[in-house]
Symmetry: C2
């Protein structure tokens, strides 16, 4: 399967790119608004993987070109760019393609981070509203600790929650999630349930901030 | 320490009463609007504990009388009764007493449960606003699976998040939480951070609902 990670030069994008290239045989493509930066980060990821004995070929393209080459397109961009990014790549998406939304809106206040719920209901809903009718949108990877994900020396042992209205698309994304060692995919229902999933991300940041011995937290449902 | 559990006849209250009586030497008092029901449930808990070889004496009283006898008062009542219950017992609380708020507002929609955030910002904030100025309010025990908590045969191995503006009161509640086998207390900051904690409860319900092999879920931050 070919996976494009738009915003694949950021920390969450880097983590997903490295983990998929390291643990699976799927093709990974890094997208960015700046194609030069996409290529340069793709080379950087290849070097990192090569140092671990993995000979991966990672593509680097401008976002629309990256989406054009992929079956699954991950929107690893800031929450306020999700809608625009979907519109920018919409005519490159085919009917069987799957869009994945991991972004979360947060704002920092005095004692911690807070969920900034968009008027549409959730960032995942913004992606779904912006997507062409024949493209399925799945919410996933919202609550992953970015730095830990991008460090292949670190174990995960955590869960990611899968949201969506198309069961086949959810199955594809669950399969891709569970292909990463130490990541378990759990079904959290439809996109209507996305706010509670996105809201978990500021909570993870707050708990890490207030407990000295904890950092880069993920979550396990048990 | 003397712990009163107002609404101690409900499932969360039952679980906390049984666990504290089973795992600690703290005095447990069950409160209810109906004193007869409080006494009857207290006897029921004593019988359950006796069947496990624990000779505990559990009091049963009307809520205000229960609060009067306690150092720590847990508001294990439905979210819409939290404010009234605090007002009802306010003149029975001393300056060193601690009020604990575990309630969460949720509403069920088509595909899952959703967090119903009160206008005050959180149920924990409602409790804090209703409490006398010299009584500290701590948010805790929001995300515990009630049936599993009340079944002493079940292991926990999960976390509870502690919220509050008074560090000493948080320490007391953290100590009481960690006195329960398998429960870890983590600091989630001030009461301003309560909405993200309360919002985790409908998410736990949704995940259990959508994954066949999971039920009665708690959460572990790791």
């Amino acid at each position: 399967m070919r996976i494009a990670i738009l915003g694949g030069t950021g920390e969450v994008g880097e983590g997903l790119a490295l983990r998929w290239a390291f643990h699976t045989n799927h093709d990974v493509i890094v997208g960015s608004r700046d194609p030069e930066r996409a290529r340069s980060k793709a080379r950087e990821y290849e070097t990192e993987l090569d140092s671990r004995g993995v000979d991966a070929s990672i593509g680097g393209f401008e976002n629309a070109m990256a989406a054009d080459r992929a079956d699954v397109v991950v929107l690893a961009v800031p929450p306020y760019h999700v809608g625009d990014t979907v519109e920018e790549v919409a005519d490159r998406l085919g009917a069987d393609d799957v869009l994945v939304s991991p972004a979360v809106g947060m704002k920092r206040e005095d004692d911690g981070f807070h969920y900034h719920r968009p008027g549409a209901g959730s960032v995942t809903r913004i992606a779904a509203d912006a997507a062409p009718d024949d493209v399925s949108v799945v919410g996933a990877f919202h609550n992953l600790p970015a730095g830990r994900l991008a460090n292949l020396d670190r174990d995960l042992g955590i869960d990611t929650l899968i949201l969506g209205d198309d069961p086949d698309a959810k199955d594809i994304v669950s399969m891709l999630a569970e292909a990463i060692d130490g990541l378990r995919a759990l079904d959290a229902g439809s996109i209507d349930n996305a706010a509670e999933v996105e809201s978990l991300t500021p909570l993870l940041v707050n708990v890490a901030m207030h407990n000295e011995r904890l950092s880069e937290l993920g979550v396990r449902f048990q």
